[in-house]
Symmetry: C2
Subunit: 329 residues, 2 copies
């Protein structure tokens, strides 16, 4: 298993992960997320090596929704239920709205105390990395992959913040669930445009105590709104994380499908294309000469001095000359 | 007015347009849309020169919606009404789904016969250009601008096909109107996701004859669906292009606002940034070496041989070296 160039630390971590040592897995993720190149390289060695030898498939489920919907408590309840059924469960957090992090800014372990005490559970408040446009960084994917190779049956992913990243997240997971709190009928304003159309399930949480009738009304309203667009087969369900109602049904929903590896490959391929494009574009837009050129051309158009076609032509000619210059040095 | 380098043909066309000669305007658009570089350059001269001297502001209204909604007939009815009120009107067609064109593929003049016979109307079945991602090409913007400089009070833009381009079109115009045919309640499937949320008005057309009650029901359903999201202040109106009902109200809607040049500049700036990004990205993705690199890295990830972070790093390093190579030749 050990490639000749494998660092001793990498080997130690690989062995640890293969022996189901969660501290080794934690360590690997820390390395992957590190801004230190050497550490990151060791993390990569661990990941690439594990990928070669471990073909485990985790069911990957992401939870999105506004703050205050009770996602953490819900995920904990779902995790605990899955444990009682004999599965092992990993919980990851993606925080696309917080590019500053780079470490564990969210005390998830404190928030999900009951779950984190369990042996077959792994909880990791993963960072968002370097703030890539869509919220998904190359590191995000690497972290999810390493957890999958560690052999978890379920990876539950909590997304924090309301970014424009649901479409990217959708491509990383098998199911995307929108968690919403009950609302007073006409107050669904916090909801992001189009979000109801990319999720696989809408879950009205906090269907408990004094909120019960509001929750039922909210669910009904979503159902009738969704009925107008029959093309989207999004289900609406009610649950209560604190009273533990509806949790069994949600667990059914996230168990009751066959993992389609071909579909996964296809979605991953699409995501890779998007990430590659975005990363290349970001590199381009950071270039001082290109920034200056765009600024000049934009000013020329807005001050009525230039046509858009000419302006774009100027940009393309410059970039083409850069790319060609490289080829014939 | 004549710059020293101005081609005689450009000068002739500029004079024609300033004298309200619609044939001169047509000729200018043909030049702008030409794939011949010399012709295109003359078109650009005309545009840039007109922009410098003519500060006319047209009200720009775009109409989108599924085929069969009756957009052309509706636009003709609106155009005819505006003419009776003393305005002059230009009608342009953007066909984002048809990158093949480059000429007048749609016989709009035949379709809008009553309007095209009028003196103060200009109808142009403009092409979509070279099939830029969002449906909007640099040429689209240039064509709209030259029509604006020609002094029309209204530019009505018909979009053909259902692309992903409404957001781009929204930035080119003052109002975006979604035109829909009456449907049998549960059959609004053709509707693109999220479209209702970017338009300024939803117009249920064909509110006439046997379709009247279906049209009313459709309007009600949209109203109730939109009520759930009070953040979107989209109005729903009924009209009939063939019975000419509701047309006055639509005309009120497209007249009753102040052109906000600051907002226009801002929207245009955003659009320019997007177009510049997209055009640069397209140039990048057409480069053989980059294409090959992406293919290699994608294969490495999908066959579990590489981590995403490493793959992206390889791409960025290559592009950076191209950009730097240019700077220090």
């Amino acid at each position: 298993m050990t490639a000749p160039s494998l660092a001793p630390l990498a080997l130690e971590i690989i062995n640890g992960i293969n022996e189901k040592d969660t501290r080794a897995l934690s360590k690997a993720i820390t390395l992957l997320e590190s801004k230190d190149n050497l550490k990151k390289t060791i993390g990569m060695q661990v990941l690439v090596n594990l990928k070669k030898h471990n073909q485990n498939l985790s069911r990957k489920i992401a939870f999105t929704g506004s703050p205050g919907a009770g996602k953490s408590t819900l995920i904990e309840a779902i995790g605990l239920h899955l444990l009682t059924e004999g599965y092992n469960v990993a919980v990851l957090t993606i925080d696309p709205s917080s590019p500053i992090s780079g470490g564990s800014i969210l005390a998830d372990k404190t928030r999900m105390q009951r779950l984190s005490n369990k042996e077959r559970a792994f909880i990791r408040p993963s960072a968002s990395g370097k703030g890539y446009l869509g919220g998904i960084t190359p590191t995000t994917l690497d972290v999810i992959e390493i957890v999958e190779t560690a052999g978890y049956d379920f990876i539950l992913i909590e997304t924090i913040g309301v970014g424009q990243n649901e479409i990217d997240i959708k491509d990383l997971v098998d199911k995307l669930i929108l968690v919403l709190p009950p609302t007073a009928g006409d107050e669904l304003q916090g909801l992001k445009k189009g979000i109801t159309e990319v999720v696989d399930l809408i879950l009205i949480n906090k269907n408990d105590g004094m909120l019960k009738s509001a929750a039922e009304l909210t669910a009904m309203q979503y159902e009738s709104a969704l009925n107008i667009f029959p093309a989207h087969k999004t289900d609406v369900k009610l649950c209560s994380a604190i009273e533990a109602t509806g949790i069994v049904e949600v667990c059914m929903f996230i168990k009751d499908f066959t993992i389609n590896t071909q579909e996964r490959q296809q979605k991953l391929g699409q995501l890779l294309d998007r990430i590659a494009s975005q990363e290349l574009l970001q590199t381009l837009m950071k270039d001082e000469t290109i920034k200056q050129l765009i600024y000049q051309q934009k000013t020329a158009i807005l001050t009525q001095k230039e046509s858009l076609t000419n302006a774009i032509e100027t940009l393309i000619i410059y970039l083409t000359s850069c790319l060609k210059g490289k080829k014939t040095p």
